[in-house]
């Protein structure tokens, strides 16, 4: 058994509630990490996956404590070790790559110093050798010009670069085990794919064992040999990566995989009911009982044990796993969305450009905006009543900026926003009349921030009803309950505060508030990206249902191409505030496509070990759009030459009505690169 590097034995970690009860975050965890393997730990927020990873370094967060069990590294228990001995293991034997490198790098220390610190602590090199080693490490994580990067401060790097620095820092001590806590969450799709590819390379190159913690099955599928699925502080399924992704035998994993939108399939995925129970609320029975489609009486009263199935080489915590052993995952069908989009135009953006540039004093006085190279430029989109149009692109592509201008939160520099064919909407909120405000509603990304924490659900939903329709008393109450039922929340939610709701419930309240105004258009800004996967599908289904009932038009902003594929009729791809491609989503997701669309599609991670991302372009971050020519010229792998740098590309139409803005002829674009 010498090939086991870390052994977790009967580990339980928890905290004491105000009432003095012991509440478990991790319940009796047993697992082994072998030399050279990559283990993916997957679970939703609150499943205890990060707590487990930190415990593997002997670290328990402030407020939590070890209730029982051990984390053995080289047969000594890290959780009972003195901090002096731990300092010799942390960074040298076991290293951590954090979730958010931007927050995890000390802001006042230069990159070079922070790596040097790890080298000083964990190696015997002298100063000269360390300097060389820093360059080597930065080179290894593929950062351009390591010497200059070493002299920079963390905030001077982009998110992807910061993450690479964190990887370099972790590698400095040549650890035997790398713990990765959501290392690509929060990065752009293309950057994420590049970082994952780098991690895979490092795992092979150095033979380091890795524990990869993530909520994203797509990322887990790309890196892991073995997967541990956690739910509510327990391991519910553990086995070889391929088996778990192709034929999961635990109902939770089964449902989770079904609820992920796929790039190759249009339509909405099936959703799982409910959400993960709060720690300490499950008294008896299986913690997944409430949400399970395969449960029976036995599951309600008895908690299943983690059972090792020898022939499948898999451990599962379920009484009824046999029902799933032969249930095939492949025959997945999505509920195709049916939209009755009319020919009537509801919103038209013409020649819209928006600038963030700081204006000169004279311009400020005359209340005008002057900027030769605005952040968003030349946006022409025609939106029909009842359709769902999605704006996609990486961060900085201007998608949220456009949304803000439609909502009136951000002044446009030029161009017109026209509602219902003849009404011009001012881009200045103050100049819009109440009806203009009512017809367009916004749902924000993060319901924690968009719902007032001091208002009850009733007050939150009452506000638009009072404001736009002047409802009072009984009628108001009736409308609120109606709306709550529409978003599948019961009457008893009225008196609750946002903090008493789960993430999915909060977003439902935000949806109810938007619909309370009976709007014609709803702007959805990354509405599902703060939600867990199983909840995401439910919210998407809800949005679709409401849309069918009310005939609303959605403008949907997302960075997640699979989600966009699931819900939208049409897609507009943006890069650096310029449109690249606009067309029916079926066509945008097929060839021919704009080189940038190709990059985005190639980088999507599917929860399938057989589908590898294609890395077409470098993940450079461009600070501002180029002055002349095509907006994508800086990263395009199919660049033609001077024409792309000097002239703005023309719009080309494909047979199916897909418009692509590129100098390369359609026929050429047809040819798939890889």
């Amino acid at each position: 058994m010498t090939d086991i590097i870390q052994k977790v034995k009967n580990l339980s970690i928890g905290f004491r509630s105000k009432k003095g009860e012991e509440i478990l975050i991790l319940k009796n965890i047993n697992t082994n990490i072998k030399k050279g393997e990559t283990v993916g730990i997957v679970g939703e927020s609150g499943s205890g996956k990060s707590t487990l990873a930190l415990a593997m370094m002997g670290y328990v967060k402030h407020g939590l404590y070890t209730i029982g069990g051990e984390c053995q590294f080289n047969s000594s228990n890290l959780l009972k070790m003195k901090s002096k001995d731990l300092e010799k293991i942390r960074g040298r034997k076991i290293a951590m790559i954090p979730q958010n490198a931007g927050q995890a790098l000390t802001p006042n220390l230069k990159i070079g110093y922070q790596i040097d610190e790890a080298l000083q602590l964990h190696s015997d090199f002298d100063e000269k050798e360390r300097e060389k080693k820093i360059s080597e490490l930065l080179n290894k994580v593929r950062l351009p010009s390591p010497e200059t990067i070493a002299l920079r401060y963390p905030h001077e790097l982009s998110g992807g670069q910061q993450q690479r620095v964190a990887v370099a820092m972790a590698l400095a001590g040549t650890p035997d085990l790398l713990l990765l806590d959501e290392p690509t969450t929060g990065l752009d799709v293309t950057t994420q794919a590049h970082v994952l590819e780098l991690l895979n390379f490092i795992a092979k190159d150095t033979g380091t064992s890795m524990v990869y913690v993530s909520h994203d099955l797509g990322a887990i599928a790309q890196v892991s040999d073995r997967i541990i699925v956690m739910y509510s502080g327990e391991i519910v399924l553990e086995g070889p990566s391929r088996d778990i992704l192709k034929s999961p035998i635990h109902p939770y994993t089964h449902g989770l995989l079904k609820s992920i939108p796929k790039l190759s399939l249009a339509g909405l995925p099936e959703s799982m009911p409910g959400s993960q129970p709060q720690p300490g609320t499950i008294q008896s029975g299986c913690s997944f009982f409430d949400r399970c489609n395969f449960s029976d009486e036995n599951c309600k009263n008895n908690s299943p044990k983690l059972e090792f199935l020898k022939d499948l080489n898999t451990s599962v915590r379920c009484f009824n796993y046999e029902k799933l052993v032969n249930a095939s995952q492949a025959s997945q069908t999505f509920n195709k969305i049916k939209n009755k989009s009319l020919d009537k135009e509801i919103l038209n953006l013409s020649e819209v450009s928006i600038s963030y540039a700081k204006q000169k004093l004279l311009d400020q006085i005359f209340n005008r905006i002057s900027d030769d190279n605005p952040t968003v430029k030349d946006i022409n989109i025609n939106i029909k009543k009842g359709e769902t149009i999605a704006l996609v692109g990486e961060s900085g592509s201007g998608k949220s900026t456009i949304l803000k201008s439609i909502a009136g939160l951000l002044r446009t520099k030029d161009g017109l926003i026209r509602f219902d064919e003849n009404r011009n909407l001012s881009s200045d909120l103050k100049e819009r009349d109440p009806n203009d405000l009512r017809i367009i509603q916004l749902i924000f990304q993060n319901p924690d921030e968009s719902l007032n924490p001091n208002h009850t659900v009733e007050e939150i939903i009452a506000q638009p009803l009072k404001l736009y329709f002047g409802l009072k008393g009984e009628e108001l109450k009736k409308n609120i309950i109606d709306l709550l039922q529409k978003v599948r929340l019961g009457e008893f939610y009225t008196s609750r505060y946002p903090r008493q709701l789960s993430g999915g419930e909060k977003q439902r309240v935000a949806v109810a508030r938007a619909f309370a105004a009976k709007p014609d258009i709803i702007l959805c800004d990354e509405v599902t990206s703060a939600l867990d996967v199983s909840v995401q599908a439910a919210v998407l289904n809800l949005l679709q249902q409401l849309k069918e009932d009310f005939g609303t038009t959605y403008i949907f902003v997302s960075h997640d191409l699979a989600v966009v594929r699931a819900i939208s009729d049409r897609v507009a791809v943006l890069y650096q505030g310029r449109l690249c491609e606009v067309g029916p989503s079926n066509d945008v997701y097929k060839f021919p496509s704009h080189p940038y669309t190709e990059v985005l599609l190639g980088a999507v991670l599917e929860p399938d070990p057989d589908i590898k991302p294609k890395l077409v372009a470098e993940d450079i971050v461009e600070e501002r759009p180029p002055e002349k020519g095509c907006s994508f010229q800086g990263r395009c792998s199919r660049i033609l030459g001077d024409i792309c740098k000097k002239e703005i590309p023309p719009w080309q139409l494909t047979d199916s009505g897909n418009a692509i803005r590129c100098h390369i002829p359609i026929k050429e674009l047809q040819k798939e690169q890889f």
Binding site: Y59, R90, Q103, T106, P107, Y153
Partner: protein, 318 residues
């Protein structure tokens, strides 16, 4: 960066200009003027005219402002009314006295505040924290006139260790002056230290909970190295501005303490000249106090800018 500094200095001058106008106008619109106050019941006819001429009050207000401002820039604030001596000479020793008191309090108070703040944060909720925090909260809540009086009662009257009020002239040598100012310094330092220690504590606690400190721990950085390299530089940045305000407050004169200990500092001069209607001195004091606040805040901002790499690059990029 240079552009920014110049901009900030210019803004400082504009602030001072506005303050000077406000004080000038303020003293103009008050009923009565220097001469009526000075002459009291004889303030009429020939005598009043003569007084106006002597003090130059017979010309229009804006002309007087211009000549006053022009002289003030050169350090000449005119004559004080009560003593009939140049304000410069009145102010000189007072500023020196305040400076002595303030710097003594600063040199004792700030290091103690930093140390206490850091200790309470690092041993959060443990015995050192509970003990020190109780004392600092106590010191914060007692008004200074009570703590000062208590100090006099215990140290000067009961124990007879130190003089209770400042009895020597302030131009004696520092060693002779020292026993006289110990009690006022302690009285001021107590309240100031307590405030700052609380501020430093919360700032350090916040940084200790940050992800980069967790990362440093997981990287295997030894505890004290982590504290000095990763925690303190980031935790103490916000303290700079608080320290600056405290220093400005000290230099501007701590009126109550000065009165209790009979110490001739700027604070007492302000009170004296207001009650004597010594308007030229009040004007001069307003300008000087404003300059102290403006320049110390400016220094603090520049220091923060220099020490915080994040702000530095942001400014350059703009």
């Amino acid at each position: 960066m240079l552009f920014l500094i110049i901009k900030r200095i210019l803004l400082g001058f504009i602030t001072l200009f506005i303050v000077s106008i406000i004080t000038f106008v303020g003293t103009e619109v008050l009923p009565g003027d220097a001469c009526t106050t000075y002459l009291e019941r004889q303030a009429f006819g020939e005598q009043l005219e003569a007084c106006y001429r002597r003090l130059g009050l017979n010309v229009p207000a804006y002309e007087r402002y211009v000549s006053w401002a022009f002289n003030a820039i050169q350090g000449d604030f005119g004559y004080s009314l009560s003593g009939e001596m140049p304000i410069k000479e009145v102010l000189g020793p007072r500023i020196k006295n305040s400076l002595v008191l303030a710097s003594a309090a600063i040199f004792i108070g700030i290091p103690i505040a930093l140390i206490l703040g850091i200790i309470t944060a690092l041993w959060r909720d443990k015995l050192p924290d509970v003990a020190i925090s109780t004392v600092t909260i106590f010191a914060m809540t007692i008004p200074e006139f009570i703590s000062a009086t208590l100090l006099i009662l215990i140290i000067a009257i009961w124990l007879e260790w130190l003089p209770g009020i400042v009895i020597v002239p302030t131009d004696v040598s520092f060693l002779e002056l020292l026993p006289n100012i110990i009690l006022p310094v302690v009285a001021i330092a107590m309240i100031m230290t307590a405030h700052m220690a609380r501020m430093v504590r919360s700032s350090v606690i916040q940084v200790m909970a940050s992800e980069y400190v967790q990362m440093a721990i997981l990287k295997g950085v030894p505890y004290w190295k982590m504290v000095f390299k990763h925690v303190l530089p980031n935790a103490l940045l916000p303290a700079i501005n608080v320290v600056a305000l405290t220093i400005a407050w000290l230099l501007g004169g701590v009126v109550v303490t000065e009165v209790v200990f009979n110490y001739p500092g700027l604070g007492r001069l302000v009170i004296e000249s207001i009650s004597n209607r010594d308007l030229p001195t009040v004007q001069a004091l307003a300008i000087i106090l404003a300059s102290i606040y403006v320049s110390i805040n400016l220094l603090a901002d520049l220091l923060t800018l220099m020490l915080n790499p994040r702000l530095k690059t942001l400014q350059i990029r703009k």
